[in-house]
Amino acid sequence: MATRNDELSPWILHFDTGSCNGCDIEIWSLLTPRYDIERFGMINKGNPKHADILLVTGPVTKKCATRLKTLYDMMPDPKLVVACGDCASTGAPFVGCYNVCGGVDSVIPVDVYVPGCACRPEVLIDGVVMALQKWNEKRTMEEVKA
């Protein structure tokens, strides 16, 4: 049985809200042999109800905003959001475009911001490991409350 002092393996969910695909292919590099984040216990899952960490890439387009909110709401607590890349963090070059709301934090709360255009896998690893620590903290806090 897992106690609250154990570190568990979070499952990740990836959603593209309008990115140029640059960060997405770096996320795929992250899942594959050279960078391989499975060594931190993370695997990519397609189902939001199984996911603990949401990796979002790209500025949020108007059509994606409602879908992103729904996905976020579907994920079980405690959950974490990692904004991957400059566009997801701030909206970067797309700020002011007519169909873009801005960064991910204009729609849902973000816990970790990963810089870079496109963000390099090394930085992404730092980002998700930071998210892993935050997730474990959140989990412990929730258990204390319960």
Binding site: K62, K63, Y98, N99
Partner: protein, 114 residues
């Protein structure tokens, strides 16, 4: 049977298509700024690009090319969204989200929010 500004262009394309190896590359629209819009059909004829232009007032409805090329339908849907041109028998809603996106953003004067 109504008459459209681009009937001549479509006829020309259909005629060339029956004779030669023709592929519709893209459809380009340009806002001239004086109330007129320009439509450019870009064709690949035996490996070389040719264009067929036509100009028309911005509130006119146009005929669709989708009976000649099925691939033209999406291009026309894109134009409906981004340029606010109407095509007979084609509906928009390809790119823009009703309620939040602006209408015809590529016009010199966009038409406001849906």
């Amino acid at each position: 049977m109504s008459i459209h500004a681009n009937d001549g262009a479509i006829e020309k394309i259909a005629e060339r298509q029956s004779l030669e190896n023709v592929r519709l590359a893209t459809i380009i629209t340009v806002d001239k700024g004086d109330g007129n819009l320009e439509l450019i059909y870009v064709l690949d004829v035996n490996g070389a690009l040719t264009s067929i232009n036509c100009e028309f007032p911005q509130d006119q409805e146009l005929a669709s090319l989708s009976s000649v090329f099925a691939g033209a339908e999406n291009m026309e849907r894109e134009i409906i969204d981004l340029m606010g041109i109407r095509f007979e028998g084609i509906r928009g809603g390809l790119f823009l989200e009703p309620g939040s996106s602006i209408i015809a953003p590529l016009r010199k004067q966009p038409l406001g929010v849906k």
